[in-house]
Amino acid sequence: MTNEDLQNIITGLGTDLEFTTEASEFLNVIVPKEQLHSICSQLKSHPELKFDYAFCITGMDWVPALGVIYHLNSTELKHEIVVKVMVEDRENPTLDSVHDIWQTADFHELEIFDFFGIKFNNHPKLRRIFLTPEWEGFPLRKDYVDEANMIIK
């Protein structure tokens, strides 16, 4: 299925979706954070999409917005898209968890919470998976400063 076909189908799934293929090999869909869960579950269940394999989930800090990038693949129909979601609130960023759609999101969301501080609603057990529970700050954010251990250019 070509990216245009995908775009046509996905457009009907939600409102205010942005599409772009600029500077990326995949079709990028930017989803408003309120619609994230509903669109993701439709992406998986829609008979012509069937995105059942989330092969990469990346936390991102586009200063000032934080966000998550989902690389999705359909093991049956062999097409791929990228879903992006952004959240502007840096103090208390919150997104919906998609672990009930792709169970791999469970661990990846833990990693993103650990390094970017994005909280996920309905996540079964949100905790710091790599860092110690008392760690302050979120290291992969661009404004994270650790004067002792980081070389700042």
């Binding site: 600029e22 500077a23 990346t58 992969l140």
Partner: protein
């Protein structure tokens, strides 16, 4: 007496036990917090980060050439494939087409790396199940591969042989001959492996029907590599998204449907034969050509996002580079196979014995730095 009390006449209590961070079955500093009832496992909670070095953060500071050698330290058993993943991503960004010679050499070394990694896994799997001898058999053969690597690139484990645009230098003159010698030698050794472990009744009893992972779960949990293929999930990146010279060789993607520990074992054992076949197809006619395309001293990727997937010995490694056009990447994400594979461990280890958990973990072939990064 209520129903609850009647059922709990003989009352048992669950307790916690720490498997790791220092534990012989953890193959590194993996800590599993087990909830156990008697010897039956009720819950497995991995606690990671004991060897986390924040490679993704370090990448944001380094130049593209420097990133390559950081990836050696992730999955150190497929270091060459990790290097290649970064190089391919950068080459994709720069739109460089490397010569055929580079592609073929990369592929041969990839497969040698895969054999070396599977050898180590085989030895350690035997050791985890209590058969210590397999470890030494495997290391005998793995040493030969390491010697070949050492001759060509000077390192045995963290090779750092790839650079963006090709290879650091050409292969050693002995490379072809020694690789062929190794293939002839190794073909006689795999049946030996089978005689020692595969056919053993105890081994089969320990592994068959243990830790069953269904295809649906494998896809949903993002499991990849031999672990996924044992469940029938066709996830071989070499087949679906060929890179380097994989589009010009014939090889089978090994698929099993049982999804148990023994199937995972068999997939890897049969992959050894496939790797041998790939090397045999390529080793005799390595094309002539440049080993390194001309790149600038300071590589600057154009603005954009680049994603490249490769098949390491453990599964699908994804490299995501987000560039703003600077000499450093804006964000680098490594989608490591081990991290996703680990996430399924709790799901398939409910209500099994401690021994089964050890067998399952061994068949997943975890490398902890790959999980922690």
């Amino acid at each position: 007496m209520t129903d609850q009390q009647a059922q709990n006449k003989i009352k048992t209590e669950e307790y916690f036990i720490n498997m790791g961070p220092q534990h012989p079955a953890a193959h590194g500093v993996l800590r599993l917090i087990l909830t156990i009832d008697g010897e039956i496992i009720k819950n497995v909670e991995p606690d990671l980060g004991y060897i986390h070095r924040s490679i993704e953060k370090m990448c944001e500071r380094d130049s593209y050439q420097q990133i390559v050698h950081l990836t050696d330290r992730m999955d150190y058993l497929s270091s060459h494939i990790n290097n290649e993943a970064v190089c391919l991503t950068v080459e994709k960004g720069l739109e460089i087409e490397v010569s055929d010679r580079v592609k073929v050499i990369r592929t041969i070394i990839d497969e040698l790396t895969r054999i070396a990694s599977h050898c180590l896994w085989w030895g350690v799997m035997g050791m985890d199940l209590g058969a210590l001898t397999s470890y030494f058999y495997a290391f005998r053969d793995r040493e030969m591969i390491n010697d070949i690597f050492e001759e060509t690139c000077g390192a045995r484990l963290t090779m750092n042989y790839n650079v963006p645009g090709g290879l650091m230098f050409d292969i050693h003159p002995n490379f072809v001959k020694r690789t062929k010698d190794f293939i002839t030698h190794f073909k006689t050794k795999i049946p030996e492996y089978d005689r020692l472990l595969t056919g053993n009744v105890i081994f089969q009893k320990r592994t068959k029907g243990v830790g069953i992972l269904t295809k649906e779960d494998a896809i949903s949990f993002g499991v990849s590599g031999p672990t996924a293929r044992a469940s029938g999930f066709s996830s071989d990146v070499r087949k679906h998204h060929p890179y380097s010279a994989y589009d010009r060789v014939n090889f089978k993607e090994i698929l099993f449907t049982e999804g148990d520990t023994f199937a995972r074992y068999q997939v890897r054992m049969m992959e050894l034969w496939e790797s041998i076949s790939i090397i045999e197809q390529l080793i005799d006619n390595i094309p002539e050509g440049e080993t390194k395309a001309a790149t600038k001293a300071v590589i600057k990727l154009p603005k954009g996002e680049f994603y490249q997937r490769v098949e390491t010995a453990r599964g699908e490694l994804g490299v995501y580079i987000n560039s703003t056009g600077n000499k450093n990447p804006y964000r680098v994400k490594f989608r490591s196979p081990g991290f996703s594979n680990l996430s399924v461990l709790n799901h398939i280890s409910k209500d099994v014995l401690i021994g089964d958990l050890v067998a399952t973990m061994a068949s997943f072939d975890f490398v902890i730095p790959d999980i922690d990064r």
